[in-house]
Amino acid sequence: MALQDAPVPVTETRKPLGARVRHLLLSQEGVLFIILVVSVLFLAARTDKFLQASNLLTQGRLMVEVGLVALPMTFIIITGGIDLSVGSILGLTAIMLGVFWNNVGLPLELSVVLALGVATLAGFLNGLFIVRVGVPPLIMTLATLAFYRGLAEGISEGRSVRGYPEWFYRVGQGDFLGLPTQIWFLIIGIIISAVILSRTTFGRTLYAIGNNEVGARFSGLRVDRAKLLIYSFSGLMSGLAGWIFVSRVTTTRSDMGSGLELDVIAAVVLGGTSIFGGTGSITGTVIGMILIQLLKNGLALNGVTADATIIVIGLVLIFSILVNNFIQSRRQVE
């Protein structure tokens, strides 16, 4: 997409505590966190149902699919790319899982593994065309958005696979150590992704690609390999989300996950990751997705209907970026 000037990352230096707190609070994530706290307080003040543990855990359960996919999406958007095909990969994985188990007759465990393999392959194909052929990510994944969904429809012929054994539902409906099982997947995913992004050379490569791909290439970074990896990772995570989704809703349909890409992108960009690449963080993405989920839930609990809720979400999306842009530009002036 456009080559708009990305905000220059502020270099970390030792500063007095006050300045550091101020720095933290005024960072992209800080501002977002404040917005999150304010909206939670506002929503909680009006209904006591909102902050109940059972409600929050349920919301956590519902958030996992979007959350898992948002992690690789953050990587991809940081490199200046985008992956629109995630929802379709989710649907394809669900269908493959059902087909391997029900039609091919493989053991369910193996079917899950194979379906995740298909998902990774789907992501890898995206990456391959983007890297080797040079198709712009937006266009490549726009094409596979239609193609993978088409495969899911064609393979399933519109039929759904149901009647999985009881143990299969534990991932999507059960609890583990007091939390819904799939939240553990998300937590582990978040930790791993955050470490990769902020503590490894690979993470720095991603930022470098986003800021200046040609420069990154010239400075010897393995740009192509990094891109292939993140698109494959995106496929894998979409597949994982598909598996969890099937387990949660106990059936597979070819239209599963349609529209997921927009929810995921909304969470990522709300989290301060610039669509032009070069900036962003897992922390921001996590706050972004929690904010959207809690807003939807909190508004519903306050008696706001769906049509008004989506207006609020849209406004929050635009205004949070607006506020953040404003603050960040002020900081740069300082």
Partner: protein, 384 residues
């Protein structure tokens, strides 16, 4: 340039795939939007219309056991004010607008019921589940739903029952044990019979027809199509089923798909079935704009208001539908009766206000009645 060769190979591979995919797809058995559950076609019409409405009932064996679920430890709210939420497949289409209206009418009549209609803006299984979760957290006394997917919606409904919330479905069912009662607008085989009979009457017993449906994965539509074809095969073996096309719940796409069917089959096409309240008026529009009124019959499920222009211009002879206002109305009455304890498993009927007593069928379903046929004479009596 190695990449150029790579691209070239990829292009060739994909062009090959473009040609192979259709070929492979064509070899497979054609499947036209019917599901593969067992069908149960009704009896064929007897000549001279001697057929009595209740003939089928005699064959009915003893009442099946109640197979619905039970709301556990539900607080006794008999006679007290209750708060219900109505979660249709999606909001923003005329059909569910009408069911919501009916629910409001019932709530007004009863006086001690509050109903809110809220739901996803697209017929999306995941969004619908989220809505139910939210309302469970908010705390309601009862949930009315029309399921986007019978299986996917069931876990959350079971959870609702476990936490003492009453659950009644309408329009589109869940698994039986995930709700207490389901208000069935019309039995699938009844719809199938009404549609096919209407075509036979208008275009003869050897008519060839096409179908415009929502999606192949929508359970109700797939069921209807299966029952229609079973009934047609049984009673009108000369009928030809040409093709079924998907058109989402989108009127412009429905129009385009109906047009494609008209253009493809030309004078071979005798009738078009619209399987949704969106597809039927659009199909009628397509036939009208193609100037084929009378040549191609349009029969379908639709709400009267959308069909009035076509029925009045004689382009459409009959519209099959239950009254969706009554459906929403009945659902609220059933819920009220369940909460009050006046309607229990094993009962054979339930009283539903202006609709009188409704019969229980299939263990835990409340039947609204036979499908209604709208035609030129009666269509102006309805406003929804």
């Amino acid at each position: 340039m190695r990449n150029r060769k790579f691209v070239l190979i990829m292009v060739l591979a994909m062009v090959a795939a473009l040609f192979i995919t259709p070929a492979v797809a064509q070899e497979e058995d054609r499947w036209d939007g019917a599901d593969d559950l067992p069908v149960n076609p009704l009896d064929c019409p007897v000549a001279d219309g001697e057929m009595t409405e209740d003939e089928g009932d005699e064959e009915m064996m003893e009442m099946p056991e109640y197979n619905g679920g039970v709301a556990q430890n539900a607080p006794d709210k008999a006679g007290q004010d209750i708060v219900l939420v109505d979660i249709p497949k999606l909001i923003g289409i005329g059909y569910f607008d009408a069911t919501a209206l009916g629910a409001q009418q019932a709530a007004e009549e009863l006086g001690n019921v509050t109903v809110t209609t809220d739901g996803p803006t697209e017929a999306n299984i995941d969004d619908q589940i989220t809505f139910i979760e939210n309302y469970l957290a908010q705390g309601v006394d009862g949930i009315l739903f029309a399921a986007n997917d019978p299986v996917a919606i069931s876990p959350v409904l079971r959870r609702a029952l476990e936490s003492g919330v009453h659950v009644v479905g309408y329009d589109a069912n869940s698994e039986p044990d995930a709700r207490e009662w389901f208000v069935n607008q019309a039995e699938f085989n009844g719809i199938g019979k009404a549609m096919i009979d209407a075509l036979a009457e208008e275009k003869g017993e050897d008519a060839a027809f096409g179908i415009v449906t929502s999606t192949f994965t929508t359970p109700n539509q797939a069921r209807w199509i299966a029952e229609m074809w079973a009934y047609a095969s049984k009673c009108y073996p000369e009928m030809t089923w040409l093709e079924t096309l998907e058109a989402q719940e989108d009127s412009v796409l429905s129009f385009d798909q109906a047009t494609v069917l008209i253009n493809k089959y030309g004078e071979d096409l005798d009738g078009l079935f619209g399987m949704t309240s969106v597809a039927t008026p659009s199909s009628a529009d397509a036939v009208t704009q193609a100037g084929l009124c009378g040549e191609v019959a349009v029969i379908g499920l639709a709400t009267p208001n959308a069909m009035k222009p076509y029925v009045e211009s004689d382009c459409v002879k009959s519209v099959v539908l239950w009254n969706p206002i009554d459906l929403g109305y009945a659902a609220v009455y059933v819920m009220r009766a369940v909460v009050d304890g006046t309607f229990k498993p094993g009962d054979a009927t339930v009283s539903a206000g202006r609709l009188g007593d409704l019969a229980v069928v299939n263990g835990s379903e409340v039947l609204l009645g036979p499908p209604f046929i709208f035609n030129k004479e009666n269509i102006n009596d309805f406003d929804f």
